[in-house]
Amino acid sequence: MIPALIIVFREVIEAGLIVGIVLAATAGVPHRSRAVGLGVGTGVLGACLVAGFAGELAGLFQGSGQEFFNATILLLAVCMLTWHNVWMAGHGREMARELKAAGHKVKTGERTLLALSVVVGVAVLREGSEVVLFLYGIAAQGGTSASGMVAGGGLGLLAGAGVSALMYFGLLTIPAGKLFQVTSGLITLLAAGMAAQAVIFLQNGGWLEYFTTTVWDTSWLIKEDSIAGRLLHTLVGYSQAPNGAQLIAYAATILLIVILMRMVPQGGPARAPSAPKTHNA
């Protein structure tokens, strides 16, 4: 039961943190639970599919199908996070106004819900497919370990949900006016970390064999395998020994998001001409 608990917990931490941040970033937005639920549901379904077709997936691209797939969905998530932040930069003031008006729902925020549910879906899919394969492996061995697996897996999931709740309620203690700034900062770092991780998969697939030399090594301080290392890896893209390409991707993503956020005018470009006016009841 204990190994199952540890592995499941380790895998769900990442998805849990991301769900927590997304929930905080969409505080007050109607239908956001539905969007997050959709993301989680699609992610779980996708995880089962990926686990079921792991062999077929691995066989693509001269045995590097898995790396290609991981890099692709990570970059998709980076695009969605970027879009969310840029959109928020254009509409943040509007949303803050709505949030301050007591009893009002922040209708404006609904536009980026789909982008964020894609991000949640990707996070759940990536971590979930490993959980599915691992638990399936234990189940296939049968015997007494099966009930332990269910208990361990269930507890692991609960612990992951706990992490998610901690992140969410922790962020909600931040005053509403500052919350947007904090969540867009977190989302920028999340995106940068994912871009750096995508670079690793591209390198492992043999597509990006440039700047692979380690630039610095902080494994003596925080090991990436430790709980602290994993939390930092997910939240800010911590890598114990980053190579040049990783650092370039990380810095370029932050730079790109910051520049795009500065460039977008208030009341931004994302608003469709026929968009209904925000809630004013």
Binding site: P3, I7, A51, A54, G55, A58, F61, Q62, G63, S64, Q66, E67, C79, T82, V86, S129, E130, L133, F134, Y136, G137, A140, Q141, I200, L202, Q203, N204, G205, G206, W207, L208, E209, Y210, T212, T213, T214, S219, K223, E224, D225, G229, S239, Q240, A241, N243, L256, L260
Partner: protein, 110 residues
């Protein structure tokens, strides 16, 4: 932004075409009863190398190493290529994450 993304994609795709294919013979490693054979793998320092991992067990395992920056799932009775970037001399532990109690190994770069 879309133009930038597209051009980035094109660059990545171009590099994919330019560098695909294995540079050298892969090092064959087997995983049986959740143990690696050989469990100590020597590679030449500062050169790309490839481990061909044959999972001879019935269930999947994940070749996992934070020092090698590799996470790769290999389903039961399948094989997977694990590419190692050019490594400075040193020791790099790895494990089969799903059976970490027994599936342990070490890459030595020299």
């Amino acid at each position: 932004m879309t133009m930038k993304n597209l051009s980035l994609l094109a660059v990545v795709a171009g590099m994919a075409l330019a560098t695909s294919g294995f540079a050298q013979e892969p090092i064959e490693v087997h995983l049986k009863n959740h143990r690696f054979t050989p469990n100590v793998i020597k590679v030449k320092a500062n050169q790309t190398s490839v481990i061909m991992l044959h999972n001879d067990d019935d269930t999947a395992d994940e070749f996992d190493s934070s020092s090698l920056k590799v996470e790769k799932v290999v389903p039961g009775h399948q094989k997977g290529a694990v590419r190692l970037r050019p490594l400075p001399p040193g020791k790099y532990p790895f494990m089969g994450e799903f059976h970490a109690a027994t599936a342990q190994g070490l890459v030595i770069s020299e």
